[in-house]
């Protein structure tokens, strides 16, 4: 065994030293009476549930909302979603562990997903990823991951910084990128995807001012 499992804030994960009790019933749906849920989160989850014929469909947006609040899909976050949606923690944990964007371990607040798929790798994404890892240097505020194709191969190599696509990046841009995130500024505004006109030369028959 490689050490005691701990949360990011240092305390030990409950149950790390106890054997599974096979006689115990599995954990049921969290009791709404004893599970306090922040009003904003409850309203958001109930809003999602109302959009679908089957309220269970809201599991993904609900977990994403809880993760935005808690930073990751912590036991508390799962219990709160379970209490509102009337689903078991086991079910929600199974869902959360399937998807790349739902975190089942504590992570930094600022996500930097560096695409290292084929197109980006052909344009130097591995060097970019190494540079980002080096620049953040274990800073607990950052969640740096090498990600599969993010669907922006036209700006390869690229990264998604807190959901904002920036590229094409060189290892020299990384310092500015990390500083922008730390200062809470928009990240590399001149490299954001949103400003990019379409590549097809014949697409725009009129002359548009693309900003």
């Amino acid at each position: 065994m490689t050490g005691v499992p701990r949360f990011g804030h240092g305390s030990r994960v409950p149950g790390w030293d106890t054997a599974a009790d096979l006689d115990k019933d599995p954990m049921g749906v969290p009791d709404p009476a004893t599970t306090p849920v922040p009003d904003d989160l409850r309203a958001e989850i109930e809003g999602h549930m109302a959009k679908y014929p089957d309220h269970r469909s809201a599991a993904l947006p609900a977990l994403a909302a809880a993760q935005r609040l808690h930073g990751w899909c912590s036991p508390d976050a799962i219990a709160q979603v379970g209490a509102v949606m009337q689903l078991t923690p086991a079910y929600l944990t199974a869902v959360a562990s399937f998807y790349d964007m739902l975190e089942t371990h504590p992570v930094g607040r600022h996500s930097v997903y560096v695409c290292t798929n084929i197109s980006c790798s052909l344009c130097g994404a591995r060097e970019l990823y190494d540079a980002v890892v080096e620049a953040t240097d274990g800073d607990p505020a950052f969640n740096v991951r090498s990600f599969e194709c993010l669907g922006a191969c036209d700006i390869a190599p690229m990264a998604s910084v807190d959901g904002v696509y920036v590229g094409p990046l060189t290892p020299d841009d990384v310092t500015a990128l990390v500083e922008d995130v730390r200062a809470g500024r928009p990240v590399l505004p001149e490299k954001q995807l949103a400003r990019l006109p379409v590549a097809d030369p014949d697409a725009n028959t009129r002359d548009f001012q693309t900003s």
């Binding site: 959009k51 679908y52 014929p53 089957d54 269970r56 469909s57 809201a58 599991a59 993904l60 947006p61 977990l63 994403a64 199974a94 869902v95 399937f98 998807y99 790349d100 964007m101 739902l102 997903y113 290292t116 798929n117 084929i118 197109s119 790798s121 052909l122 344009c123 990600f147 599969e148 194709c149 993010l150 669907g151 922006a152 191969c153 036209d154 700006i155 390869a156 998604s160 959901g163 904002v164 696509y165 995807l193 949103a194 006109p197 379409v198 590549a199 097809d200 030369p201 014949d202 697409a203 725009n204 028959t205 009129r206 548009f208 001012q209 693309t210 900003s211």
Partner: protein, 435 residues
């Protein structure tokens, strides 16, 4: 050059309903609502448009498979776009979301559907926000909701954000994810047209397919079918990326020479380099070489050449890149994204990566190439979905077309390995009766 989807796509404010309407937006919907649903469906069938998501199944035919009647039917727009190299839907949704919404309303009318969903991948936050705003605008303008434009059509639309899983682009896995489950593919049949979302008949189409629907209705299905070539009608968005000078999205008429796309539109590989191989339809398509550059870019020709058009995304690899690296990046992607439901795919992708890593580290023998080929062969056709096949086909084609390079790589890596020259560790004796 005919531009349907990309005509003046960069007009400022096109994502807003007033600009879209000023350009003639939603006139195709008004035209469709003057026709009977069967007539709209007939137009779609006459256009012979093939699905733009990857499988290339005719959209009109798929819509006609939905049972008639008043049961709950669903329309899902597949905006999960995660195929490596593909980014056409992102551009469409970001710049012209109302084109997609209009297409979905018309498709729903043709198939008698009252509830629709857009399943967009979670990474596309900007595009999902734009779609959310566009759907709200469409509701406010009366294009969505009850009794649309005074007709009998009622349609609701929900933008559903995924959370990062390639497999959710597979239609039945998408349905599971939309139902709030892990995105595992389902056994087919029953096909979604009979039993899909919430067990109801479901029509699933790609963003680009649905965004083309207003243009088909405006110009007429037969007129649309005149674009492109036989069996590959219409225009197609092509995403070109990798080692090219001008990567990006281009709208082409199907059937133009591939060289014109890679060299003419995308500028070809950087100065002094040449094309080593290219994926014609995303990373799932078997690679083609420089000899195949003059093939017309359409569904049937590429299928005949042993590859596929797929989602229409070309990844160009130039001669400075070792083929083993490309194979390893490809295989790692599929290993990471395999959902783990079917054994051949879960284990096959894992072992292929291990063998490729061995090749790279100098611990492999040429026999590993044969084992890899046999692993790939045993994945194909043996799983619920085609994710495993999508790894096996490109890897198999790379080994087949670049075998000398793989073998040279094995030898070079073995020579560079620090343990080179040492006598091999003897195999442990086989215990009698241990079987």
């Amino acid at each position: 050059v005919t531009k349907l989807l990309f005509k003046d796509i960069d007009e400022p404010g096109l994502h807003r309903i007033d600009v879209y309407e000023r350009r003639g937006g939603y006139s195709a919907l008004r035209k469709a609502l003057t026709m009977e649903p069967e007539q709209v469906l007939a137009q779609l069938e006459a256009s012979h448009i093939r699905g733009r998501g990857g499988a290339g199944f005719e959209m009109g035919k798929k819509a006609s498979f939905l049972p008639k009647g008043s049961m709950d039917k669903y329309l899902c727009c597949n905006a999960d776009e995660s195929e490596p190299g593909t980014f056409k839907d992102r551009e469409l949704m970001q710049k012209s979301p109302h084109m997609l919404i209009e297409g979905m309303i018309i498709a729903a009318y043709a198939a008698g559907i009252a509830r629709s969903f857009i399943f967009i991948r979670g990474e596309y936050e900007l595009q999902a926000d734009i779609l959310d705003a566009a759907v709200a605008e469409a509701y406010a303008a009366g294009y969505l909701g009850e009794r649309i434009l005074g007709s009998s059509l009622t349609l609701s639309m929900v933008v559903h954000r995924g959370a990062g899983a390639y497999i959710c682009g597979e239609e039945t896995a998408l349905l599971d994810a939309l139902e709030g489950k892990r995105g595992n593919p389902r056994l087919k049949p029953p096909f979604p047209a009979n039993q899909g979302l919430y067990q109801g008949p479901t029509l699933i189409n790609n963003v680009e397919t649905l965004a083309t629907v207003p243009h088909i209705i405006s110009m007429g299905g037969a007129e649309y079918a005149k674009l492109g070539v036989a069996n590959s009608t219409g225009t197609k968005l092509v995403s070109v990326s990798g080692n090219v000078q001008r990567p990006g999205n281009f709208e082409i008429e199907l059937g133009i020479p591939s060289r014109e796309i890679i060299y003419g539109l995308a500028g070809g590989p950087p100065e002094g380099r040449s094309v080593k191989c290219w994926f014609p339809g995303g990373s799932s398509a078997p690679v083609l070489t420089a000899d195949d550059l003059d093939l017309p870019y359409d569904f049937d020709t590429l299928a005949k050449a042993g590859s596929m058009l797929g989602s229409g995304s070309i990844i160009v690899v130039d001669d400075s890149v070792p083929i083993v690296d490309v194979a390893l990046w490809t295989a790692r992607f599929y290993r990471h994204e395999s959902c783990g439901k079917c054994t051949p795919c879960r284990e096959g992708t894992n072992w292929t990566v291990k063998m490729l890593e061995r090749i790279d580290s100098g611990e492999a023998t040429p026999m590993d190439l044969d084992i890899m080929a046999s692993v790939c062969e045993r994945i194909i056709g043996n799983c619920l979905c085609v994710l495993g096949d999508a790894m096996a086909m490109p890897i198999g084609s790379m080994v087949a077309k670049f075998r000398p390079e793989f073998e040279a790589h094995i030898e070079a890596a073995r020579a560079a390995n620090p343990f080179a020259g040492e006598p091999p560790v003897p195999a442990p004796p086989v215990l009698q009766g241990a079987r």
